[in-house]
Amino acid sequence: MSSDADAAGDAAAGPNRETKAERIRELLATEGDAVAENTRGFNAGRYESTGRLDDYEALKERAREIKEDAIERLPDLIDEVRETVEANGGTVYLADDAADANRYIREVAAEREAGRAIKSKSMTSEEIEVNAALEGDGVEVVETDLGEWVLQLADEEPSHIVAPAIHKSREGISELFAERFDLDDPPETAEALTMFARERLGDLIEDADLGMTGANFIAADSGTMLLVTSEGNARKTVTATDTHVAVAGVEKLVPTVEEFAPFVELIGRSGTGQDVTSYISTLTPPVASPVPDFEADDEPLADGSGDDREFHLVLIDNGRLAMRDDETLKETLYCIRCSACSNACGNFQSVGGHAFGGETYSGGIATGWEAGIEGLDTAAEFNDLCTGCSRCVPACPVGIDIPWINTAVRDRINRGEADPSQLDWAFEELVPDEEPGGLDLSTRLVGNYATLAEWGHRTAPVANRLANFGPARALAERVVGIDSRRELPEFARVSLVEWFDDRGGSAVDPDEADREAVVYPDTATNYVDVDRGKATVRALEALGVHVRVPDLPGSGRPPLSQGMVATAESAAEDVYAGLAPHLDAGRDVVVIEPSDLATFRREYERFLPADSHERLADASYDAMEYVFGLLEAGGDPAALRAPAEGTGPVASGARLAYHPHCQARTVEVGEYATATFERLGYDVRVSDTECCGMAGSFGYKSDYYELSMDVGEPLREQFGDTERTVVAPGTSCTEQLDALLESTPMHPIEVIAPRE
């Protein structure tokens, strides 16, 4: 499947979009429920388990430092581990690519005359497809991890990097066993299925000749490898065979054994929410255990056979050393494959790794892995599914900016696939971006939303009528992929900036003001939802703030979401230029749209000089964060609107249902609304859904409409029947909640701002 990029503006759009949408629809129906239940369970477990750590943030920082240092010194660590492993009596082979690794492993198998290899779970071995290589030589390969074994029997691919068979139900496994083993009365309970597998695999393990494992970490100072497992199959794989082949990416190296410690504490908690998994094997192979001889089994177990063990460490490059030299992809090498980013991801929870994944890896970080290992084409197949909601960022134990990797790779895809002949010149005025001509129209249209919105506002009556006019919607769907089931935003005839000018500026005299603030007129507030802008002005003024609403450019969030990095970067420069005089004058910057605040704080770090970024990030506040701060500093809560006594939009009283914006949570401002509401006497229920599913423009795209609605399903479950007033600060969340709940939510500031 190709990306959207070749789908714009021609008849090819139809079938291509269909295919992608159909595939997603099918997965939602067949695997979605099992994946959702499991990943949401893991995700909730992560919060609980990491919450039990006193020093979670410090551990994450330490883990990050170790990875940065290790990747920096990688060539030296490779040399060092070669020496230590050889001194222990093992061998190290550094394989350039999959074929090279497989050739070596096949040679080892041939030399040891192996008839059967047993394996414990290893994503790296999936990456090189060693099973097929060995089977081609007549070596039987048996996966001993129960999940992997199920997939091997079913001839399916993993749908999750840690729990590979997450998409299979208990009933499905029972049917599979019945069919594969010709059982009239197959095991049905989890217990019975597990015991069936234990016995079958136990027999296969006894006769095996070669044991293959991965490695989660390898210490260069001793040649010690660490394996994180729960079933005990990796222990058996190593113990029961006299030849151990460990396959690991070069990035698994860390300098010392002592540096394993933070990872041991973080990996299980981050992944499946287990404080620690049953077994942490720290082996310095060849291991010393005797090899049980299951054939001549009347010999003593401890017969000295441990001395005859062989160990081969196969370190895989396969693009990794080149990733190390690539500023964007390098961070991927810090990944410890814990799966937190998959489990925290709304889209992943709905479709799993069969849609949100490439050749081997899945979830948000897969874009980095697949781009580095397989190439851009593979990454392009699923990279759209990262919406940039950023909920994976605080979950990642090594602090990888996963959304950024997705953005930067999307930028490369855009540039790589651009076809200059594709651009319709008539469109040029609406898409004044910095991108190459020929970029997919839907991408450019969304990326240039700020210009589009301004145009829509200028021509509001016509634009609004046209926008929702049947044939125009059909055209929009066919040409630019905007789903006709979505309502399009209705542009305001008077923008926020115009309204503010018309009223004659701030109602609070600067001489009497406690503070001065700029209300940032983000694109959505300025041209579409002007009311929340007005409410912000009123709320701030009620607390004695002299407000300004200058005309400022869009933040660059929409182009960023489309991977249009250069356009976003120039937006950042323009916004900073527009705000700099205000910062010089000591004014605060108040931001209504959470995604824009997140852009200032997170992504602008990449676009602006460090001092400028820091200045802007420090001076800018989420609207509710700002109100909270004013109240803390002695502002009078009575100036704001307390729970209504039976009038106005909060007529149902003091009860609110609040969905914080995904990115607001990542920059840790989501809680200020809750705190402020509570302070004013509201009763708030906060959603625990990571992302509403709309994620900016994502849910508007026809390919993803169903997926987007499915991602929002937990919100419908939580808030669907509520009598509470629904509150959400994000524009796109508002659209989504409107579609899900059939009632339009308010921005938190509209709840507490005094009435006009």
Partner: protein, 203 residues
Amino acid sequence: MATADTSTFRGRLDDFGVTVSEGPPAACASLIDDAAGDPAVGVPLGESGPDALEGSAASLPERVATDPTTADLRAAHTGVTAASLGIASYGSVAVEADARGTEPVSLFVDRHVVVLREADLVPDVPDAFAWLGPRARDESTDVVFATGPSATADMGGLVHGAHGPKEVHVVLLRDGDGDSDAPGPADGDGDAPGSTDGTGVDG
């Protein structure tokens, strides 16, 4: 070792469904006898655990076969070994994969009975790796930190005993004070912690 560590350790074992009994070294054999099923195989404590257990009063009961054949191992219900170290904050025990077969004896059985000296408890994970580091570098030691029984959630629900032992029992040996309370089992039957998943995390 500090009492705080011991109570943390016991609390964690309880979380993971691991039963514990406690007593002085002299009571070791009888504590094992109470905990082990039949037939039982084992590795002499001084050989599978720290040197300090060698020549101590702690021993295995007669019925535990200490030089088993592979057939004995296959037939065994219980495997008895010592642990070199315990991590209080996680309820983990360090089982060494040594030439005496501590690893297969603790792995290819339904129940693992593991003997740990209270003196060998360390508070936390960094302490354990500070202990392991020099051993790995100088002696190529192979250690499995085992926490609770073998587990899987791959078959649609949490099940213990996927490949390894279904049950684990820890015999905790108190320091020296041989004359204090009579040994007695202190059962823990807690649920597995955190998530319902037992899947390994692997790269």
